[in-house]
Structure formats: structure tokens, C-alpha cells
């Protein structure tokens, strides 16, 4: 297990380097002149030259990258916004709670619906529930994310008026007039975004869990357990689920990256001020450091989360836990 974890740890560090290099290349090498972008529209050549020097854009690319990396590791700083000179760290810190509530709350939502549906439809293939589940899966993988969000906003939020359509409330109680906060308000305002996530991801997970459970059910050891006279619930919980849920853990780790991408759309539709909407807003005003900061931050979050999933996996899977 230790060997496995050490290997995954180095893999995480490697991923971090690759992520920063790709991000750096995309943003600072592909566009013709970052200095010009940084300077804005009304800029004389002298000022551009000055900006280029002060941002170290005149150095060779590998030195620039090294500076970028060094600032990140030594000072934990992602730089300063071109638009208003604010620290990128501060901007990200403001927006993280929104995106985190969205993604993790959404994950709880989609898992809590897809696990039961997936298992039940695998146990009773071709039943009404299974067919219903398959239609649900088909719509979930075929519908555009934003459209599901907007339809939910229209039907549940607008026509029925059951939930608020937009805005975010802080989880922790904060004082202030006209602001909403506290866990109840927080969850109430996030129901629609979570449901959007649920529709998108539950589809994939229902299909995955259904396939895994069905495959495990046909394994020899399940037949042996049945032959020994184990009750069907014991077979299901002790033999089938323990094995068929392992891949779900891995996929969940991978999908956090996908979910961060999905958060961009969900935040846009429901007007939440999270990382995704910040990314689009900064992108539209060519605020490169903020965009880079968000992309790098997202990558780090995904890498850390994947490492945690690896640890969980190593602990859950006896083949790894007991290996030396």
C-alpha cells in the first residue's frame, strides 16, 4: 500500500507540472502579445515596453515559466489581476465557496439518486423501473446542461414558484441587511443548481452502476455465495456491492474535473458568483492572470482530490491495502 501511495504521490506532482506547463503555454505563448493585453486599449509603445519588462515578459519562456512556478510555490501567489490589480488569490478565495457548495452538494445529490436506481435496475433488468431509468439516462446524456438548468428554472422556479431561481446564500450565518445566510437558506437557494447536476451526472452513474452490478452478479463467487445459502440481501451487500462500487470511487475522482467544467454552465445559468462565472467574466475582459489562476487552481483541486480518491481506493481495495 505504501509503495502504491508513493507512486501516486509522484504521479500527482507530475500532473501538477504538466498542468501548469500546458496552462502557461496556452495563455502566455499562444496569444501574440500578453503585454499589450495587460496594458489595455489605450497604450503607447513605450508603456507596452515598460509593462513587458515589469511583467518579465521579455525573459525567455522557460525563465518566465520558472518565475510563475516559483511565485506559486514560494509565495503561494497566483499573481495580480490585470483589470484591477487585486490579488488573484483573493478573487479565488471569494469564489471557491460557491463552486465547492455547487459541486460537492451536486455530487451528494447525484450519488444519492443514482446508486439506488442503478442497483435496483440491475437487479430487475427490463422491469418498469429499469426502463424508466434507461429513458432518464438517455435524456440525461443527451440534453444540454444549460437547457436542463433553464427548464428547471422555468418550471420549478418560475411557473411553480417552489424555489428561488438565482443568487447564492452563504452557508455560515453572516450579518447584514438584505443578505441571506445560514444552512437552510443556502440549501434552499442551491436546490435548482444541484438538481441540474443531478440530471447530468446521475445519468452516467446510473448506467455505470447498473453495468457494474450486473457484471458482478454473474461472477462465480456470487453463485458460490448463493449456493452456500446466503440470503439475497447478504449476497447483495457483502459480495456484490463491495466489488461493484470500487470503480465508482475511481470514476468519481475523475468526474470532479468534469463537474468543475459543468459548474461553469450551472453558475452561468443560475447567476451564481463562483469560479466558473469569474472565469468567463475575466476571459471576456482579457484578464489573463485571473483566468490562469482559476485554471491552475482547478487543476490543483482536481489533482488533490484524485490523490485522496487514490488513498480511499487503496484502503477500500484489499488487493492494494494488503500488498507490500
Amino acid at each position: 500500500m505504501l509503495y502504491f501511495l508513493i507512486r501516486r504521490f509522484f504521479w500527482a506532482i507530475f500532473l501538477f507540472l504538466v498542468a501548469t506547463i500546458i496552462t502557461y503555454i496556452i495563455f502566455y505563448v499562444i496569444p501574440s502579445d500578453p503585454a499589450h493585453i495587460a496594458c489595455g486599449t489605450h497604450c503607447t509603445p513605450q508603456i507596452v515596453a515598460h509593462v513587458r519588462k515589469s511583467l518579465h515578459l521579455d525573459l525567455p519562456i522557460y525563465q518566465q515559466y520558472w518565475l510563475f512556478l516559483w511565485n506559486m510555490i514560494k509565495h503561494q501567489s497566483l499573481g495580480y489581476s490585470y483589470a484591477d490589480g487585486e490579488q488573484v488569490n483573493t478573487i479565488i478565495r471569494q469564489d471557491v465557496p460557491v463552486t465547492a457548495s455547487l459541486v460537492f452538494g451536486g455530487a451528494v445529490f447525484w450519488l444519492s439518486i443514482s446508486i439506488p436506481i442503478g442497483i435496483l435496475s440491475a437487479l430487475r433488468p427490463r422491469s418498469i423501473l429499469d426502463r424508466f431509468g434507461m429513458v432518464f439516462v438517455l435524456i440525461g446524456i443527451s440534453a444540454p446542461a444549460v437547457w436542463i438548468g433553464l427548464i428547471l428554472a422555468y418550471v420549478v422556479g418560475f411557473k411553480l414558484g417552489w424555489t428561488p431561481i438565482a443568487t447564492y446564500c452563504n452557508l455560515l450565518p453572516t450579518s447584514g441587511v438584505g443578505t441571506c445566510s445560514g444552512p437552510a437558506e443556502w440549501a434552499y437557494h442551491l436546490i435548482l443548481p444541484w438538481m441540474t447536476f443531478m440530471f447530468l451526472f446521475a445519468a452516467l452513474y446510473v448506467r455505470l452502476i447498473r453495468a457494474n452490478v450486473m457484471e458482478t452478479m454473474s461472477e462465480d463467487y456470487v453463485r458460490t455465495a448463493r449456493a452456500k445459502g446466503a440470503s439475497s440481501s447478504r449476497v447483495l451487500f457483502q459480495h456484490v456491492l463491495r466489488n461493484s462500487m470500487l470503480p465508482v470511487v475511481t470514476i468519481l475522482g475523475m468526474d470532479i474535473g468534469l463537474a468543475l467544467g459543468g459548474a461553469v454552465f450551472t453558475e452561468f445559468v443560475f447567476n451564481l458568483r463562483g469560479l466558473g462565472s469569474q472565469l468567463i467574466q475575466s476571459a471576456n475582459r482579457d484578464d489573463l492572470p485571473v483566468v490562469v489562476g482559476i485554471v491552475v487552481f482547478a487543476c490543483i483541486a482536481v489533482i488533490i482530490f484524485n490523490f485522496l480518491v487514490d488513498v480511499a481506493y487503496a484502503w477500500l481495495d484489499p488487493r492494494i491495502r494488503l500488498s507490500t
Binding site: P31, I139, S142, Y154
Partner: protein, 349 residues
């Protein structure tokens, strides 16, 4: 090649012993087609996709001809009290003149009314026509992005799986890296920095911006087909026919091209069909954010982008493009499922 007795013919034999027994060899594609034809959902989807291509590429100009205006025509009277008019509205083509009453001289010049079949957007354009022309964009992005990513994926998967060794290590590590990353963020990032330069690339026939999306989706979409192809090739390369080919002195290139590639045709076709649906969704998503196809070029995504502003007053703006995307992607997904079953030789005949 399997040789089978045609069942109806065999029955005929039982009824009339005089008739000669016909033994018919069926080709691979014939068997696939027979299996595919059984799947009603897939057949309906296939029909829908053909219909969609016909309406998008032939129907759109015809509709524009009969309606007398193009998809980008702006109608001042298409927006009434800041709300776009609903479907099947007769409005004047005259430029908007303050007040609802159209002045006499404009009426004379522009005729009385023009028909807007679909609801219109904030510019008062005809959504029906924009949907038809948007279908062209969606299908083009879907197909070209799929072509790009699948060819890259097959190349990577085939070389990695066939040669093993360090090539395979590099390929599979690359797949792992791309799979873990929040690649949607990278797609957005690449579109932001490279979009302006690439958008004007049309290769002579593509609408504005299609090339950018196709390229970006290819760059970030190859890893999944590569993984599938690599898996298939890994098991194929140990088969006897590859060994036999190598023994007769076939080169690596020849083995890959003539012995392995034909086995990949089925997974390539199945996966491409599903990937087209994914890429159509990708176009819709990016255009919705304003990072895909830029107006005035109509696309399903940028039609949907009008929805947040108007859906509470004019729900058509939300429904039409969304349903167009939904039906198309469902059709491609069902077609993919049907093809998967049809290509499976274990499937019943």
C-alpha cells in the same frame, strides 16, 4: 465467412421439396444491416438523422426562398414591447418606426407582412430559419470535430497498442493526464486565446467559427477513442492472424493498416456516432457562454443563449433550440447503441 441456410428458403424447401436448396453466403455488412434493421429505435433515429441532414442542407435554403428572408434578416417589428413575437406571426419587414402603426409609405415599400414561422429573438430574426441554418453548424461541428478526434485517437491507440514499449507508455500517460484534467476549462481557455485567429478559417466552405470548435474539440477529445482503440489493439495483436502476417514478412505498417484497422471499423463507427452527439452538446454549451459560434452566424447554442433573457415571457425561445439539440443528440445516441448491437456478431439473427 459464415455460410448459412436462409431461413425462409429452408421453409420453402419443407413445403415444396422440388425446389432446389438455396444456400446464400452473407457478407459482413449484410449481416450488420440485417441485425441493425431489427432495432426499431435505431432505425427511427437513423431516419431522423437523414431527415435532419436533408432539412439542414437542402431545406434551409428552400425555406428561406419561400419565406423571402434569410436567417440573419432583422425585423424591427419582430420584437413587441421588448418581447420577441411568438411563432407563426405576421409582421412587417419594414424597419422599426416609433409606435406600432406602420407608416403608409413604408407599408407601400415593404408590402404588408412577412411570416415569421418560429418565435424570434431579441433582433426579431426568424427562429425557424435560424434553427435550420443552425442545424448546419451543429452537424458540421459534430462531424468535423469527431473526424478530428477519432482519427487522432485511432492513430494514438493503434500505435500505442501495437508497438507497446515506450510509445505505449507515452500514449497511455497522455490519456491519463487529459482524462483527469478539467478539460472543459482548457477548452474555454484555448477558445479565448486562439479563437479570434482561428475563427476566420473557413477552408472555403465552413461557416465562421466552425473550424475553431472542431479543432479545439479534436485536441481535447482524442483521448477517449484512443483508450478504446488501444484496448482493442492490445488484445488483437496477440492473435494468430497477426502472428501469421508477421511470419510472412508483412511490415508493421502493413499489419496495422490491413490486418488491425479493419477490426477497428466497428468500434470506430459506434464511438463516432456517440461522439457526434457529445460534440453537438459541446458546441451548444460553448456558444451559450458566448465562446462558440458568434452571431450573426446562427447556431443552436447561440439561439439558446437568448433564452435566459426571455424564457419567462417567451418560452418558445427556450424550447425550440433546446428540443432541436435534444432530439438530435438522442437520435445519435440511439443510433450508436443500435450500431453497437448490430456490429456484435453474437447478436441474434
Amino acid at each position: 465467412m459464415t455460410v448459412r441456410v436462409d431461413t425462409p428458403a429452408a421453409l420453402d424447401v419443407a413445403a415444396a421439396p422440388a425446389a432446389p436448396v438455396t444456400v446464400k453466403a452473407r457478407g459482413y455488412w449484410e449481416l450488420v444491416w440485417i441485425r441493425f434493421r431489427r432495432d426499431r429505435l435505431a432505425m427511427v433515429s437513423f431516419g431522423f438523422i437523414i431527415f435532419l441532414f436533408a432539412t439542414a442542407f437542402a431545406g434551409a435554403p428552400i425555406a428561406a426562398h419561400f419565406l423571402g428572408h434569410g436567417p440573419n434578416a432583422l425585423f424591427g417589428y419582430g420584437v413587441h414591447d421588448f418581447v420577441p413575437v411568438g411563432p407563426w406571426s405576421h409582421i412587417s419587414a419594414a424597419p422599426y418606426f416609433a409606435g406600432d402603426q406602420i407608416p403608409q409609405f413604408l407599408q407601400k415599400q415593404y408590402g404588408n407582412t412577412t411570416l415569421v414561422l418560429g418565435a424570434s429573438d431579441q433582433n426579431g430574426s426568424d427562429m425557424f430559419l435560424r434553427l435550420l441554418y443552425g442545424a448546419q453548424v451543429s452537424l458540421e461541428v459534430g462531424i468535423f470535430a469527431t473526424l478530428g478526434s477519432v482519427s487522432l485517437g485511432v492513430l494514438m491507440g493503434l500505435t500505442g497498442g501495437y508497438f507497446r514499449g515506450w510509445i505505449d507508455t507515452v500514449v497511455s500517460r497522455m490519456i491519463e493526464v487529459v482524462m483527469v484534467f478539467p478539460y472543459l476549462l482548457f477548452i474555454i481557455a484555448l477558445r479565448i486565446v486562439a479563437g479570434d485567429k482561428l475563427n476566420s478559417v473557413t477552408l472555403g466552405f465552413l461557416p465562421h467559427g466552425v473550424f475553431t470548435l472542431a479543432l479545439i474539440f479534436s485536441v481535447f477529445g482524442w483521448f477517449y477513442p484512443a483508450r478504446i482503440m488501444r484496448g482493442v489493439v492490445l488484445s488483437l495483436r496477440e492473435k494468430e492472424f497477426v502472428e501469421a502476417a508477421r511470419m510472412t514478412g508483412a511490415s508493421d505498417w502493413r499489419i496495422m493498416r490491413s490486418h488491425l484497422l479493419p477490426h477497428l471499423v466497428a468500434p470506430i463507427i459506434v464511438y463516432s456516432t456517440i461522439l457526434i452527439a457529445q460534440n453537438i452538446l459541446g458546441e451548444a454549451g460553448l456558444s451559450f457562454l458566448g465562446l462558440g459560434i458568434d452571431p450573426p452566424q446562427a447556431s443552436w447554442g447561440n439561439l439558446l443563449a437568448n433564452a435566459p433573457q426571455f424564457y419567462q415571457t417567451d418560452v418558445w425561445i427556450l424550447l425550440f433550440p433546446g428540443l432541436a439539440i435534444l432530439f438530435t443528440t438522442i437520435a445519435f445516441n440511439l443510433l450508436g447503441d443500435g450500431l453497437r448491437d448490430a456490429f456484435d456478431p453474437r447478436g441474434m439473427l
